[in-house]
């Protein structure tokens, strides 16, 4: 027998009510990491970018790596949740919201890393005042801002029905302001047939929009590298490669979040091992694609034997050997082996594979950004090793951990504000009998 929304809300109510001691403890640790990051940022602003590892050659370091990484997670969330929504996959319901939250939260954190990298804040507004349409940086600014609006709209659309349910549910012991907020955000939604129809139509439109925007925006980000005549970057495959790598890392994060929320909120009834296997199979396919794209990219560079590409590949295989192995071998093989054999497909092992994916994909971005900048085209007189070799400093790592801490804090706050599993999705009766979305037959 299917549960009603009131029954489910009653089950989920403790998640939304007053935070426990453990919640505050974790939140406090994250807040501390965030404060350390703020201290690092203040230190950087006071003493300039000299306190980072970035120098004359390597002007993009961990900040840009993190920017690409978080943006990738965001787009993956958008593509996954949008695609699962449009395909009406039955098992999507308990995990959709996590995907949507990953989208918005990562999208809010990612661009902050660009700001940390900017040396002249006083000139930042020039990007808007004097934009050059032919510059990929301008495309990125336009694309990211469009994406933020779209993703927030999509997230809100998927929340409205739950806000209405929370507004109407009497058994919820939350402060009055929270109730009031649910009322405002529910926007008079009562579930009339017309409202249901409008919401569905809007969600379908926005699902399609977020998928296309995510692909375009992440391609634009890839083109910032691809259109630059630098060894290792000037590649036509970078657009699709970035998109695949993004979805791969985002799927990994989704599995990790599923594991955490399942454990913390005891959602074993809703997020089953089958969910892990289903998302894991997606991870397997994406991992295969990621491996194929990586191989294709490096093979053509290596076989082409262009002088600087050769120097770069030598650099990757010697100086960055272990990072290269983690990013391109471990990151592909470990998740694939776990998911390819049935006996390995346990919740914990799949999650372990997902963690490996996340780590390896961070290194993948590091290897895209840093070694290329350490391999300049032009020989420069009186060039010193300290100006070429990049080593991140504590300031950069403090902001990196602060970024992760903000992600965790926002996920925690979101889970206290709205059920981490969409109640409306769970209780929705699927209308997708066969051919319901096809054009009407003409005689």
């Amino acid at each position: 027998m299917e549960k009603t929304s009131d029954v489910i809300l009653k089950e989920f109510a403790p998640q939304l009510e007053n935070p426990s001691r453990k919640w505050w403890l974790v939140f406090g640790v994250m807040l501390m990491l965030f404060i350390i990051g703020i201290y690092g940022l203040t230190y950087q602003i006071s003493y300039g970018h000299d306190v980072t590892g970035m120098r004359d050659h390597v002007v993009w370091g961990v900040y840009i790596v993190n920017f690409i990484f978080f943006m990738g997670l965001s787009y993956a969330g958008a593509i996954l949740s949008g695609a699962l929504h449009l395909m009406k996959t039955p098992w999507r319901k308990p995990i959709m919201r996590m995907g949507e939250l990953i989208t918005v939260i990562s999208l809010l954190i990612g661009p902050c890393f660009i700001l940390f990298c900017v040396g002249r804040f006083d000139r930042l507004h020039y990007l808007i005042l004097y934009p050059r349409i032919q510059s990929p940086i301008t495309w990125d600014v336009i694309a990211i801002s469009t994406d933020i609006v779209g993703c927030l709209l999509y997230l809100y659309l998927s929340f409205i029905e739950d806000f209405a349910k929370l507004r109407d549910f009497k058994g919820l012991n939350v402060p009055a302001w929270k109730k009031k907020l649910y009322k405002i955000l529910a926007m008079n939604y009562t579930g009339t047939p017309m409202q249901v129809k409008l919401i569905k139509r809007s969600k379908n439109i926005m699902a399609a929009m977020v998928i296309s925007i995510a692909i375009i925006v992440y391609s634009v980000l890839a083109w910032i590298f691809g259109v630059t005549l630098q060894p290792g970057w000037h590649s036509t495959i970078f657009g699709p490669y970035f998109v695949i790598a993004a979805v791969y890392s985002g799927t990994g994060l989704l599995i990790v979040l599923m594991w955490f929320y399942r454990k913390i909120f005891k959602l074993e009834e809703y997020i089953t091992c089958q969910h892990f296997v289903n998302v894991g199979i997606m991870l397997l396919i994406l991992g295969a694609f990621y491996g194929y794209f990586t191989f294709s990219d490096y093979l053509t560079k290596w076989y082409g034997s262009v002088k600087m590409d050769k120097v770069l590949i030598d650099h990757l295989f010697k100086q960055y050997f272990w990072e290269f192995v983690v990013a391109n071998y471990v990151g592909v093989i470990v998740p694939m082996v776990i998911l390819a054999f049935k006996k390995f497909r346990t919740v914990n092992l799949i999650t372990f594979g997902a963690v490996v994916t996340l780590i390896s994909l961070w290194f993948n971005r590091y290897l895209i950004v840093v070694p290329t900048l350490e391999t300049p085209f032009l020989p420069i007189q009186d060039n010193r090793l300290a100006w070429i070799k990049y080593t991140p400093t504590w300031v950069e790592f403090s902001l990196f951990t602060a970024g992760i801490a903000v992600f965790v804090m926002l996920m925690m706050i979101a889970a206290k504000f709205i059920p981490i599993i969409s109640v409306s999705e769970l209780t929705e009766k699927e209308e997708e009998t066969e051919n319901v979305n096809c054009a009407p037959k003409t005689v």
Binding site: L153, N188, T192, I199
Partner: protein, 282 residues
């Protein structure tokens, strides 16, 4: 135990005090590179460079005053003798100034830096016999010919041919001189070479031809220049850049971006309108 502790602490303090004191008083030893070059108009260019070596790298010393003298006794009052940010100091001796010379006709010019609290003093010396070269460009039977004449200046002021010397003929380009050929002066101190006809010049075809002898063991640096309209006038070349350095973006880009953005934002507007309908319960 206590005496040992006091002894070690004292040694430690003494060692650091000594190190700090030695660091404070240690002066750097600069290197002064000095050359003299005779120019076309008969003036002398005195070029000095003051640097110091630190971990095998030459660092320039800026703002240092360089003094010049002849035979260490006759001071030359020359302006512009303070090193710039690259450590260079240029000074000029006007044409017509008679420089004292030895019986053998050798002129000696000394450059000295007196030092300060950071740097030791340094000096450089240039010895040379006075000579000059002259370059002229003329058409000989429709052939573009560069003629070079060389003269030795004797102690009594008279001139005699500068024979059996090699002069490099070059054309001044943006960053360096392009060698065109070498001329060996004959017994009468003259020589010539055929000048190429295909060199690009400035907008009206002017070329700056420079004949020079560099670091000659007797005559030092000699130079003579002439401007001649033998070059191919420079024309504006429309280069296809591998970058979009245009004032405005290409039309296809503007159109594509506009379609994309209008398409996306129109959908946003439509969804926001739907939200409004939901709020008003239609």
């Amino acid at each position: 135990m206590r005496p040992l502790y006091i002894l070690l602490t004292s040694l430690f303090i003494v060692a650091f005090t000594f190190k700090a004191t030695s660091q404070e008083t240690e002066k750097k030893t600069p290197d002064l590179t000095f050359t003299v070059k005779k120019l076309t108009d008969g003036s002398y260019e005195l070029k000095s460079r003051l640097t110091y070596m630190d971990r095998k790298i030459d660092f320039p010393i800026a703002g240092a005053a360089i003094n010049y003298s002849v035979d260490s006794e006759s001071p030359l009052n020359i302006e512009g003798n303070v090193t710039d940010k690259n450590g260079y100091a240029y000074a000029y001796i006007k044409p017509g100034v008679i420089l004292p010379r030895s019986k053998e006709g050798v002129i000696t010019i000394n450059a000295t830096y007196s030092g300060n609290e950071l740097y030791e003093s340094a000096s450089g010396e240039a010895l040379f016999n006075e000579a000059r070269i002259k370059v002229t460009c003329e058409m000989v039977d429709t052939i573009q010919t560069v003629k070079v004449e060389g003269f030795k200046i004797n102690p009594d002021g008279s001139e005699s041919p500068l024979a059996e010397e090699t002069v490099v003929v070059s054309v001044q380009r943006m960053f360096s001189r392009l060698p065109v050929g070498e001329v060996t002066l004959d017994e009468s101190g003259t020589g010539s070479l055929e000048f190429p006809v295909n060199l690009p010049g400035d907008s009206i075809g002017n070329l700056h031809v420079v004949a020079f002898i560099a670091e000659h063991e007797t005559y030092g640096n000699l130079e003579s220049a002439a401007t001649v309209q033998w070059g191919i006038p420079k024309q504006k070349v429309l280069v296809t850049h591998r970058a979009l350095w245009t004032q405005i973006a290409p039309l296809w880009m503007i159109v594509s971006l506009t379609i994309l953005l209008v398409g996306v934002w129109a959908h946003y507007a439509y969804v926001i309108f739907q939200l409004r309908r939901i709020k008003n319960r239609v």
